[in-house]
Symmetry: none
DNA sequence: GTGGTCTAGACCACC
DNA sequence: GTGGTCTAGACCACA
């Protein structure tokens, strides 16, 4: 776990798991690491991991089967794909446009992004 | 998810001033508002403004003349235009590409950004 | 804390900790006193200690783990030993030579320094 | 006048004049620049220059002949040579020794200083 | 008038 | 428990 990052740890964990789901490394129904497992792995307090899981459960991304563990919920992928996308376009994009303006960025500067967008289109 | 990305006040002040410089509203040599003035204007504590100014001075964006005030440094604009741009391409762009990938964003989603980039190009 | 010194408190704290590191009393990885602890110990405001720590973090001398504390960074000793030495030879030594010249100081006046230098050599 | 320096301006002026005296560029009896002259030259407030002169007068380095100007006092050079030297050995040297110790400086690092001291000796 | 430092006390989010 | 931010108010030295 990167302690240098300015994002708080429990959100880093959440984002990391969300990534796994969005990229298909974790599929609906899959079991995610137990709290104590993950806490030991990334050398972090169990409460911190617990907090991530609680947040994700409350977001409807994962389900908790008491005594067994946490599992990726059935609607997780779909829900994330739409919610996070909408949030991105609403919150991040305007900032991005503004930054592109004041920094006088060009299409060339965004080459890697453009390429990725084309790849997405062709799927 | 009310884990708001609300930036802290002293960073907002810094970013606001950086914007003024990058857009030419503040030119090198210009005096920026005194700590007391700005604090009164935006109804914020003097220490908070002071913290912004101290940060910017340390970044080499503004200079300080004892007992007189803070001034936009000569290299401010140039330094910002290059440093912030480089930092953006190094730090932000990869995240952006990754996000575009996992969220399966398309060129259409980025329409506003593309438009801005074209405008920049035509200047 | 010696209030007789002209230096401000937060810089005294920084210099005191730097000394501890350079002399090996604090090793990389060691936890330094929490902001509250130190503030209580030396009877100084928490914010003042915080300011020292923020400065040192920005200098790369110490790292911060959220909710846990500040730790001497891995490169701290090496970085200090080289940076501060280089800075001394670049900034302070010329002033010193100039002062020795205008004050017509002699080798005898610098006896204590010469002795220390010999001790350093024999280690 | 270097505004970037962290020493306060009126002390910079004082030190600059002291240097002129110690190096013989200004001799006892010489007239030093008038307050308004110097203020205009280095683009500084007259009060600031006046403060320097007042300090130096109080130190016995310069004399004020009302309506005429300030003049280097007869004992200026001698007085400075002894006072500043004593102060250096009492205040600065111990710090220097300590710094040499923690930074593990060697005789080689002080080569320029040693050379200057030898030159002083041979005069 | 300006910046600069410090205190005391509060509140927050996080581990 | 930890750091982090902010407020209110004070005092200082300097221009």
């Amino acid at each position: 776990m990167e302690f240098g990052d300015h994002k708080t740890i429990f959100l880093q964990i959440r984002d990391w798991l969300v990534d796994q789901i969005l990229t298909g490394k974790l599929a609906p129904g899959d079991r995610i690491p137990s709290v104590r497992e993950l806490a030991a792995d990334i050398e972090v307090n169990r409460n911190t991991v617990m907090r991530s899981y609680a947040l994700m459960e409350q977001e409807g991304i994962i389900d908790n089967r008491r005594g067994i563990g946490f599992f990726v919920s059935d609607q997780a992928r779909q829900r994330l794909a739409t919610d996070e996308k909408a949030q991105f376009i609403r919150d991040e994009l305007p900032k991005l446009v503004h930054q592109a303006k004041v920094l006088r960025l060009t299409l060339a500067d965004f080459e890697p992004l453009i390429q990725q967008l084309h790849e997405n289109q062709n799927q």
